[in-house]
Amino acid sequence: MSAATIRDGYNFAYLDEQTKRMIRRALLKAVAIPGYQVPFGGREMPMPYGWGTGGMQVTAAVIGADDVLKVIDQGADDTTNAVSIRAFFKDLTGVETTEKTREASLIQTRHRIPEAALQEDQILVYQVPIPEPLRFIEPSEVETRKMHALEDYGVMHVKLYEDIAHFGHIATTYAYPVMVNGRYIMDPSPIPKFDNPKMHQMPALQLFGAGREKRIYAIPPYTDVKSLDFEDHPFEIQQWDESCAICGSHESFLDEVIMDDLGTRSFICSDTDFCRERGPIEESINMPVDTPIDTPIDILRETL
């Protein structure tokens, strides 16, 4: 620990040592029981619930001076949530940070799994809003706990079946429930179902923290993670006819971006590091650099 680089008056990684020990014990039990939500004494963090307090507490308990930290929000390194959390840990641990997936030893994520395949000894920390996959079906914690204990998961399939009855297909597109190691049904946090297959037999360790709900769960490396489905309605991931407007990727998860007030749309990679690594493809850039497009404000100015 290089004390000089840490903000004065704070413990390394913000949390006190007793809190870290409590979270660490919960993490060890979480990896021993994959997919099971371990209750823990969640602390108040210096930001509101919903901004990743659970993920931050897990990161704070795990992070050490030798770690290289990457933080993403919806795949991007440069959005508010990611920038703030990265700055927080830089300030309070002094660790090196990176935007490159391959160089990071610890990645905290909100709602995406990076496109680049994760490696052994990397740790992925998810920010989880609602850890209980059965919560929208059964509001009682006493009941859902009993359902997990008895492996009483029929109702989850009924929910997916109701999708099919209403829409003709399973309409759940994010936080798509998974079965971990053939035992526990788990909420993978609101990642798009596009990312679900990456969780299966992933060489990296996956840790999940829910701050408001005070639950920690985990998937050890090389663990079976199966998205729930039916024989006649197998699990499918999202696909796009378009490709990324910047790098031309057909394989990555694409965000739809509105380009102007006429509703022109474009698609770009959600994973900014993946996109940057591939580099821009000349012909696929449909936005000329020299002639900026009129934004609604420009148009407004001209008319005034």
């Binding site: 620990m1 413990n11 390394f12 040592e17 007793q18 870290k20 020990r21 409590m22 660490r24 014990r25 919960a26 993490l27 060890l28 039990k29 979480a30 990896v31 021993a32 029981i33 994959p34 099971y36 371990v38 209750p39 308990a61 795990v62 992070i63 050490g64 001076a65 000894d121 706990r145 009993k146 997990h148 204990a149 008895l150 190691n181 035992r183 526990y184 037999q201 060489p203 360790l205 985990a218 998937i219 050890p220 490396p221 090389y222 663990t223 079976d224």
Partner: protein, 220 residues
């Protein structure tokens, strides 16, 4: 009566507990991976590696059970001083337990958790002469184990175990010394069906290997 001697704990508690925990996290999430850890001093019976685990994980919230061999005034005083955890006489109430494998007569003495709260199952820390993942065993060298070891720790044949399950890509081969029939039966038979069970931590003088309840074990 001699006053118990207090030994040194971690040199830098914040850094060292984090590093010890990371080794434990790797060992628990990748069963069969041997990791290294240490603390400045050891006690009679208590390895510095076991002491490191205690400092990293134990506090006033974790009842600890010590087997008769470990239940000495020195060990109790030092663990109290450095960790402050309560010591329980009943293994069933312990979240953590420390013993030599030879002292375990029945695994049913320890808590396996409940179906609704399986995480309350015991973490059983067992001190052994050697753990290794290589085929050539370096742990059992010609040199005698360090002084002060119990007769229960006398050299026994290594048991070779083949592990598979979550955390293991295909399978892993490890060798652990001093295992008795009670432990081997527990690991192979798995009498408590998942998610219930006891998570085992095998600690040698400088290294450690974990076998959590999810691991399928085969004796070779």
């Amino acid at each position: 009566m001699n006053a118990p001697k207090i030994i040194r704990g971690f040199a830098e508690p914040v850094r060292d507990s984090q590093q010890t925990f990371r080794q434990l996290l790797k060992a628990m999430s990748e069963p069969g991976s041997v990791v290294n850890l240490t603390s400045p001093d050891a006690l009679t019976h208590l390895y510095s590696s076991t002491f490191a685990v205690c400092q990293a994980l134990l506090d006033q919230q974790t009842p600890l059970w010590l087997s008769p061999e470990f239940n000495t005034a020195d060990i109790r005083h030092n663990l109290h001083f450095h960790s402050g955890m309560p010591i329980t006489d009943e293994p069933a109430k312990a979240l953590f337990a420390i013993a030599y494998p030879g002292e375990i007569t029945a695994m049913s003495e320890f808590s396996i958790g409940s179906c609704e709260y399986p995480e309350t199952g015991c973490t059983l820390i067992l001190q052994v002469n050697s753990v290794s993942s290589e085929l050539t065993v370096s742990g059992l060298s010609a040199k005698e184990p360090s002084s002060g070891l119990s007769p229960l720790m006398s050299k026994q044949a290594l048991t070779s175990l083949k592990l598979s399950g979550p955390g293991i890509a295909t399978e892993k081969l490890i060798h652990i010394s001093d295992l008795n029939d009670v432990l081997i039966n527990y690991l192979v038979e798995r009498p408590d069906s998942f998610p219930l069970g006891i998570d085992l931590v095998f600690v040698a003088e400088q290294s450690l290997v974990c076998i959590p309840r999810t691991t399928t074990v085969e004796v070779l």
